[in-house]
Symmetry: C2
Amino acid sequence: MNSPIAAGITKGLAHRTLAAATAEELRRRILTGSFPAGFQLRQDALASEFGISRIPLREALLQLEAEGLIKIIPHRGAVVSELSIAEIEELFDLRTLLEPWLLRASAPRLTGGDFARLEAILDEYSHELRTNNVIRWGELNTQFHLMLYQHSNRPRTMTIVTALLQASDRHTRLQLTYTDGMERAEKEHAELVKLCSAQQFDAASELLESHIINVKSSLTQALSNLSR
Amino acid sequence: MNSPIAAGITKGLAHRTLAAATAEELRRRILTGSFPAGFQLRQDALASEFGISRIPLREALLQLEAEGLIKIIPHRGAVVSELSIAEIEELFDLRTLLEPWLLRASAPRLTGGDFARLEAILDEYSHELRTNNVIRWGELNTQFHLMLYQHSNRPRTMTIVTALLQASDRHTRLQLTYTDGMERAEKEHAELVKLCSAQQFDAASELLESHIINVKSSLTQALSNLSR
DNA sequence: AGATCGTAGATTGTATACAAATCTTATGTC
DNA sequence: GACATAAGATTTGTATACAATCTACGATCT
């Protein structure tokens, strides 16, 4: 079988090890919801689907566990993380603490090229908003936030926030389907870029803080509606 | 060879997989400085020392990389992380942001038994201060901080902070050897417990914040002295 | 001499094979 | 019928073996 993973490696462009390529593919499937929360990841099934052995697959699983996307229980396998409402709230609380701090450090160093790329993301975002492509929206949201922080010079925090964004993405998507959060986020994102380019960094990081809080509160509202 | 790892497993008490036990032992060696920063971790050498194959060893390495204790470069192996001064400062900045938040959530739920255990740690701490057992001091410091936060109900943040404490431990040790930071920390720790048991939670988390800032500043001072 | 290339040895990455643990299902007992 | 138990099947964990990559060092060329 000529799997996408093996093919990607064979072409030799992007990936350096099978384990890394496999982690990437598994991550994609989890983030897009192709592997939903609670899904059991069987080593043998996945390895043979990808045309690889279980060794690199296991290493990919370990990587995903470190990112918090799956949970591995010894001798019992890996499942896609299911987060309680409290855990989802924790994700957003952490983001509220960390992201404004990153923005404050990074925003003064954003270049003209950065702003162009940010605007491009916002444009595509608006377009996907009309086509209701929620999955693509999540990717763009993560990219947008990370791009804002790219010059923060805080690698460890960036790693943490990247994981937080990925973990919250699946759940944010849910919120957006049921509320007006998407339009609101669109406005806030645009305003955020404007403030940064106007060098109003304190105002920008305050807006960012309330932006994350807003997303959180409309998400928790949507969640409690669902459980009712 | 009858390695401690294999023996530990054979006794069957603590560990569920060889990979987990190996990670624990490697972590211990890094934290105690037995494997110093920059040390190359050769898979074959370590595996045969532990009497295991390279498979569980590799999985242990992945775990340590996720914790930030080592860095793995594909096809080139793993080395114990060397942190720049900026990266060390980042560790403390993150702790300054996260730990007071955890304390604020956890402190109101500390029980009498918790306070007894905290006091016990402080006592042993004072004892080790006299014997100059810096390694044990680091363990106690990490335990002390984590015990304060144990009821925060924020598992993800706890994971992050645990990693931060472990990563900063090695470097804190350095500071303590050259400054009066150890006595100062002792006083601040005692005061912290007192404030918590007196239910002065806001004051406690403010003290914690300045405590971490204090450790950071005397550490950066020690580091700049060394480089001169 | 310095640079480039190539080869041998060392080291990491992955496949295959086997061992240990868990889950399933059938059976028996009360 | 409910529960306990044990054998078989499934799944994960680890050892061994082989493949791919990197490193070091020396030969060759300009």
